[in-house]
């Protein structure tokens, strides 16, 4: 059937299973929006800023595992998407971003609202396409979704000139796609898997170190099974939280800069480190030279470039983590007595770890007069649904959430790990809530990050997205302030957000509800009221202004050099 480019795009999206898109209209996508007007199979949500639209598509993708889709117009619309795209790229989130472009005849002429978005996004997308001919459009969309969701996932941008949206072509969506330069290795090599298992079963002090790849690869179940069968403890990165239940005694929680004492001690003293879907980020390793100094390292990752990028690796396995973990479990089944011997042999090690846990558990000092942010996080966990989705911004509140919320299920934490994007939380939560209208979606943010995308209050109210926004308000850009306190002699340069904002009135101005807690004994009541109130709610907690995130490994120090909570 012959149809115009705009319609072809929408038909392609439908066939890719897209039910929700986040987009912002403009001159070069007006034809697309005209088609969308009568296209009922796709729900369109209008954010109040393109950056938020991309974060929402990102939150949607993280929460569902599907490819998130965002639309923006050319020029400023397209450039506003960059932070959102870079955020998704750093965390390997599958997304397709569609930008309008000036008509092909005007490209390169500095036309009104023209930006070379292909050039601009080249370093922050997995791949990008400029569609020059409507006849290529369907195949390009097919390729874009295929590239976005396979291998190491990532955002793919399609730049769609206005005249290509208007031009017509015969529509046929290809069933399969073949890209000769793109053949991700999915199946882990069986020999490598066997070698890995024999290394594991020969270890006396093993630790499993899990990253976001396990969540992206839907392998939380296999990972949990492996750890429990072997009785080997698990530590996760920020992106890996939720891949292993933190309520489990084998969980060591977060490792790295703000990791637990026991996770960092375990990694620093282990004789075997099994890295699964993790990339040895500097926030995890601290000083590379003294990272896991006694350990052999097994590294399982779908992306060959992650392997041996930062640390030496003794046994690499390139492949989809689910495939590799399944194969490891199979090898394990054939072990018999050897497994029991192994479990016995690592008892002294797990006891040593228990000793570290007892010596320095995660802690903070509660007071009767001032609300401690960690207390709010603990209360939120206690009072929220077990399958609640939490979206955070970036900074102190993010680390406290990672340390104290206790994530037990995959895809329940949405957080910008790699890029560290402030302003991510509210729009990401919006995307998750659009995907799961009946689940509890909580934003945990600081007063700084919240103000970076607070315009999205309009979007959540308009679309009845009942996100519960918890602002830990310390009137500071807390994490930078913490660094200034520790490393810059308390010279709080430009980190004090002096203007006291009335967040309750702000909520009301947008048609949402707002509640405030100023004392510890008000926290529980505010959370209960916030959760019980229908629709979007702001809960503001006036927290201890100069509380620090601890433990902390100073940048560039080794993991054992932790500043601990006194």
């Amino acid at each position: 059937m012959k149809m115009n480019g705009a319609k072809i795009l929408l038909e392609c999206l439908k066939l890719e299973g897209v039910d929700t898109v986040f987009g912002y209209p403009g001159g070069t996508v007006i034809n697309l929006y005209d088609e969308l007007f009568s296209f009922k199979e796709i729900r369109h949500i209008l954010p109040r800023h393109e950056q938020a639209g991309v974060h929402a598509a990102d939150g949607y993708a993280r929460a569902t595992g599907k490819v998130g889709v965002a639309i923006a117009t050319s020029g400023p619309g397209a450039t506003n998407t960059i932070t959102g795209i870079a955020t998704a790229y750093m965390d390997s989130i599958p997304m397709v971003i569609i930008t309008g472009q000036v008509p092909t005849a005007l490209i390169g002429n500095d036309a009104f609202q023209e930006a070379d978005i292909i050039g601009i996004t080249r370093p922050c997308t997995k791949h990008n396409f400029l569609v020059k001919d409507v006849k290529d459009l369907a195949l390009i969309v097919k390729k874009a979704f295929y590239i976005a969701r396979t291998g190491r996932p990532g955002p793919v941008l399609i730049d769609l000139p206005k005249d290509v949206q208007i031009a017509t072509a015969e529509f046929k969506y290809p069933d399969t796609v073949e890209i000769r330069g793109y053949k991700p290795t999915i199946e882990g090599h069986p020999k490598q898997v066997e070698k890995a298992m024999s290394l594991l079963l020969g270890a006396k002090r093993p630790v499993i170190y899990v990253g976001g790849g396990v969540i992206l690869g839907n392998a939380a179940e296999e990972l949990t099974a492996l750890s429990k069968k072997l009785e080997v403890p698990v530590t996760t990165t920020l992106m890996g939280l939720g891949s292993f239940p933190e309520d489990d005694p084998l969980s060591l929680g977060l490792l790295g800069m703000h990791g637990t004492y026991y996770a960092n001690m375990a990694v620093s003293n282990c004789d075997l480190l099994v890295a699964v879907g993790a990339r040895f980020d500097d926030r995890v390793t601290g000083k590379i030279a003294s990272f896991a100094p006694h350990a052999k390292i097994i590294h399982i990752d779908v992306d060959p470039t992650s392997i041996k990028k930062n640390v030496r690796v003794d046994l690499p396995i390139v492949g989809d983590v689910k495939d590799v973990l399944t194969k490891m479990l199979k090898v394990l089944e054939e072990q018999g007595d050897k497994l029991d011997d192994f479990k016995k042999s690592i008892v002294p090690w797990t006891e040593e770890i228990e000793g570290w846990k007892a010596k320095h558990p995660m802690s903070y000092k509660q007071t009767a007069t001032v609300i401690k942010p960690q207390f709010v996080i603990q209360k939120l966990r206690e009072l929220s649904d077990p399958d609640a989705i939490v979206a955070t911004d970036v900074g102190q509140h993010q680390m406290w959430t990672a340390q104290f919320f206790k994530f037990n299920r995959p895809r329940t934490l949405l957080s910008s790990g790699g890029l560290g994007t402030m302003g991510y939380g509210l729009p990401a939560a919006m995307g998750a809530q659009a995907a799961f209208p009946d689940r509890q979606v909580i934003v945990i943010c600081g007063d700084g990050g919240f103000q970076m995308n607070l315009q999205e209050l309009a979007t959540v109210v308009q679309n009845r997205l009942a996100v519960k926004i918890c602002i830990l308000n310390n009137n500071f850009l807390g994490m930078v302030r913490q660094w200034q306190e520790l490393f810059f002699d308390k010279r709080y340069s430009q980190t004090c957000m002096e203007l006291p904002i009335d967040f309750i009135k702000l909520a009301e101005a947008f048609g949402a509800k707002g509640f405030q807690a100023t004392k510890p004994d008000e926290v529980e009541a505010v959370i209960k009221k916030g959760f019980a109130t229908p629709g979007p709610v702001i809960m503001e907690f006036k927290v201890a202004r100069e509380e620090k995130v601890l433990p902390m490994v100073p940048a560039g120090a080794s993991l054992t050099e932790m500043v601990l909570a006194s």
Binding site: H127, G181, K308
Partner: protein, 163 residues
């Protein structure tokens, strides 16, 4: 250490920028880069001369392979490839130096491709070291302009990479 890499890529716009961007974005060096279509017009072949230790070279080849438009990457082990480069060299050639330039051109089996009363333009081809050598001899005579293509390389032996 110096490495010569051949990269087969889709012959599409923007591919050169993806490859160059990869090198600049990750802080890898490019000593030279040459690119042109192959026998299969949908494929272009780049020859990149770069340098780095084993770990950097591993990253370079892996990162190149990761680009969607890259079809094949061949990192030539030293001695496994034949490398050639062409240089066009404009030298001052007046009075007594005219004969000396001709002698050098002859020794290096180069060619004079343009002549004026005050200059010769020379075409020289060969391994990069040979080009370096002829330049070293010509430089004292007065180098007016120099353009080098950068290396192209092909593997030794009967085996060929299609494209």
């Amino acid at each position: 250490m110096k490495h010569t890499i051949a990269v087969l890529v889709e012959n599409e716009f923007g591919v050169l920028s993806r490859v160059a961007g990869l090198f600049s974005g990750r802080g890898f060096n490019i000593d030279s880069l040459s690119v042109a279509p192959t026998n299969d017009e949908t494929i272009s072949r780049m020859t990149i001369v770069t340098r780095g230790d084993e770990q950097i070279m591993e990253q370079i080849t892996k990162q190149l392979n990761k680009l969607i438009d890259v079809i094949k990457v061949i990192d030539f082990v030293e001695g496994s490839a034949i490398e050639r480069e062409m240089a066009l060299i404009k030298v001052t050639a007046e009075d007594e130096s005219r004969a000396e330039v001709l002698r050098i051109v002859d020794i290096f089996r180069a060619k004079i491709i343009d002549v004026t009363p005050k200059s010769y333009t020379i075409e020289a081809t060969g391994a990069p070291a040979k080009i370096d050598a002829i330049l070293e001899l010509l430089r004292p005579l007065g180098l007016k302009e120099l353009v080098r293509t950068g290396s192209v390389a092909i593997g030794r032996g009967a085996k060929g990479w299609k494209g």
